[in-house]
């Protein structure tokens, strides 16, 4: 489903190279965890996959279902089924959460040539998905992410993900700032989306989240490259021994 080939990318503004020859492939149905120390390029990778302008790809390619997505803007990638759950969801005062959800769902449907949702259908979907994630209706009446606590923001991201039904879900440090109860709710939300035709990339600093979202593969990112891949036992190894051994072995 996702194939990243010898990817090199830098910050557009100052030319700093962050991704330096990254290779990764994730199959449909797979949950891949990407771990790595601070500054290894984890968040940058998530932004590049979703098409943020601030980074430019200088070499290599990103294939999604066999096609390069480098020329697509973020909205086109989203309509094709790529979803990024932000580490820091953005507050947008003046945009009502419900209006945002409706526009996003319908714009994606339009881009795929599907009919727009009727209002009752839309309301029902939101109500059901919100209940699953224990999101209070009051929260949905506020402007987008404004005044949400850290945990509420993360749950709102997973709500959007379940409503938009993407094919490739990228979770960027979704566990940061969550207490254990919120973590379980979020993990349940993600696990509910696991399916044979959907891939999930979980970017995380800690092993903790992977106790709840159990990955099929684990990849260690360091200085913009995947330096080691393995199964879920690799995550436990990292938790026990830290990154130093692996980094040392790769150097």
């Amino acid at each position: 489903m996702l194939e990243i080939k010898n990817l090199h990318a830098r910050i557009a503004e100052d030319g700093t190279e962050i991704i330096r020859g990254l290779n990764l492939s994730v199959k449909a149905g797979e949950v891949a965890a990407i771990m790595g120390p601070n500054g290894s390029g984890k968040s940058t990778l998530s932004y590049i996959l979703s098409g943020r302008e601030d980074y430019e790809v200088t070499e290599g390619d990103i294939l999604y279902n066999g096609e390069s997505i480098l020329e697509l803007d973020p909205s086109e990638r989203a309509a094709k089924g790529i979803f990024l759950a932000f580490q820091y969801p953005v507050e947008i005062p003046g945009v009502a959460t419900m209006q945002f959800l409706k526009v996003a769902m319908n714009e994606q449907r339009k881009a795929r040539g599907e009919a727009e949702l009727t209002t009752p259908d839309f309301m029902r979907r939101v109500k059901d998905a919100a209940a699953e994630l224990k999101i209070a209706p009051e929260m949905l009446r506020r402007p987008l992410n404004v005044g949400f606590s850290g945990g509420e923001k993360k749950r709102a991201e997973i709500l959007q993900m379940s409503l938009l039904e993407p094919k490739l879900c990228i979770l960027d440090e979704t566990d940061s700032g969550l207490d254990i109860d919120a973590l379980k709710i979020v993990a349940d939300g993600v696990n509910a989306l696991r399916s044979p035709d959907r891939a999930v990339v979980v970017i995380t600093h800690y092993q903790r989240l992977l106790d709840y979202i159990v990955p099929d593969t684990v990849h260690v990112l360091y200085k913009g490259q995947v330096i080691k891949s393995g199964d879920k036992t690799l995550a436990h190894e990292l938790e026990a021994n830290g990154y130093a051994d692996i980094i040392g072995a790769a150097a």
């Binding site: 909205s75 932000f86 947008i92 945002f100 402007p143």
Partner: protein
């Protein structure tokens, strides 16, 4: 009357002086009213239209900007509009003439033409000060409007929409409104054009809030693309009075809206919110002065500007705090979303504080679309043009939502969305 020697009259100044000579026989009022009009036009002839050398008009050089003034056009037709908020009581002024059949339950109402005719309006036909060009022109030419008195304790369930519509020519209206103690009401002062012919409009609302009155007043200026609109609202706030004043400019070619507030009662609260939606080659000036004259009062002013094309905008905001007005809390901000390299906005905040135990502040920002917000919306599948429109809308909708009056919020959001659809 003699013109000041040495001053060359502009085309517009000459047109106004000649219009006065033609119109004065037709305008309501004699005796004291006529005398007041004569003083105002005489002062106008002496001073002329203000130039940038007049401090209060520095960013709106009216002499240069006002190229022509259309003649009165008694035959100009104009249509009425459906009220902005469904169920409002509409008081209609068509082509400068008030419809005297209008009524608001529990409120004393008469036309301003009647008040001119019987002379009771004469006292109000004065300029605020030597820079009050709008007061002069309007006082000299005013023909009609409404006089409203809300008795103490009046509570209106539905808004009152004062609707002035014209299609051409000149229109000069005035609306003196008094709100008695504890009165509660929403007034929508709406100025609209029925066509694209150039009109010259002046209008003055003169309102006072008695003790405990709680009023929402919306000025919605949606004039035509060729129109000149010179508006003024004079406000006096009594003890514990609360006024939410929303000023929305979404039309006109040359616009100046003045807001002058006297905070005269302790415990009073002024909430001014301004939205300027500017596009094309237009010039729009919002000039605000507030005088906190007594202790323990608050005022907040938030102005949001969205500017496209080659539009120019001005906000002048002056907060004065008198020596006795301790514990004044006054905060002013002016935020501009500049969407074109050729657009321009000037903000001039002025604080004159003579008391020492006060909290006063001001801030002005000029911003572009926030790229992180834009990326977030696009990452959810919303195409760039639509995402941009949502963010522009959000920038102004944010302050509309503060109103917490759902039908009014929806109506104003509709106005904003409609304008953006046409201009963005």
């Amino acid at each position: 009357m003699n013109m000041q020697t040495g001053m060359k009259l502009s085309v517009a100044e000459t047109a106004l002086c000649e219009a006065y000579d033609h119109a004065i026989g037709e305008l309501p009022g004699d005796g004291a009213v006529l005398a007041a009009r004569d003083v105002l036009i005489s002062d106008f002839k002496d001073a002329g239209l203000p130039t940038r050398r007049v401090e209060a008009w520095h960013y709106t050089d009216l002499k240069a900007l006002l190229r022509a003034v259309p003649a009165f056009d008694p035959a100009a037709s104009a249509a009425r509009f459906e009220p902005l908020v469904e169920g409002s009581t509409v008081l209609s002024v068509v082509n400068g003439v008030a419809d005297g059949r209008g009524s608001v339950e529990g409120v004393t109402l008469r036309t301003f033409a009647d008040a001119l005719a019987d002379g009771t309006a004469a006292g109000g036909l004065v300029a605020r000060d030597s820079d009050d060009t709008i007061g002069r022109i309007n006082g000299a030419f005013v023909r009609d409007g409404f006089v409203l008195d809300f008795p103490a304790g009046t509570e209106l369930a539905a808004p009152v929409e004062i609707q002035t519509v014209q299609n051409a020519g000149q229109v000069h209206t005035r609306f003196p409104v008094t709100f008695g103690a504890n009165a509660r009401a929403t007034i929508i002062e709406r100025h609209a054009a029925a066509g694209d012919n150039a009109a010259f409009v002046t209008t003055i609302s003169d309102i006072s809030l008695a003790e405990g009155a709680d009023i929402t007043w919306v000025i919605f200026q949606g004039q035509g693309a060729a129109d000149t609109h010179l508006g003024q609202i004079r406000i006096t706030l009594g003890t514990d009075a609360k006024l939410r004043l929303y000023v929305i400019n979404a039309g006109g070619k040359l616009v100046r809206q003045e807001i002058h507030v006297v905070v005269a009662g302790e415990g009073s609260d002024l909430i001014l919110r301004g939205i300027n939606l500017l596009g094309g080659e237009t010039h729009t000036d919002v000039t605000f002065t507030v005088g906190h004259d007594v202790p323990n009062t608050t005022s907040t002013e938030v102005i949001r500007n969205v500017i496209f094309d080659r539009a120019r905008g001005v906000f002048q905001g002056q907060i004065r705090v008198a020596p006795d007005a301790q514990k004044t809390d006054a905060k002013m901000s002016c935020n501009t979303l500049l969407l074109s390299d050729e657009a321009d906005f000037s903000a001039k905040p002025e604080l004159e504080i003579f008391a020492d135990d006060v909290q006063c502040g001001h801030g002005a920002t000029v911003i572009d679309i926030d790229h992180v917000q834009l990326f977030y919306l696009m990452a959810r599948g919303i195409p760039e043009n639509k995402a941009r429109a949502m963010l522009v809308n959000a920038f102004v909708a944010e302050i509309v939502e503060e109103l917490e009056d759902e039908p009014l919020v929806e109506a104003l959001e509709g106005v904003i969305a409609g304008w953006l659809d046409k201009h963005a």
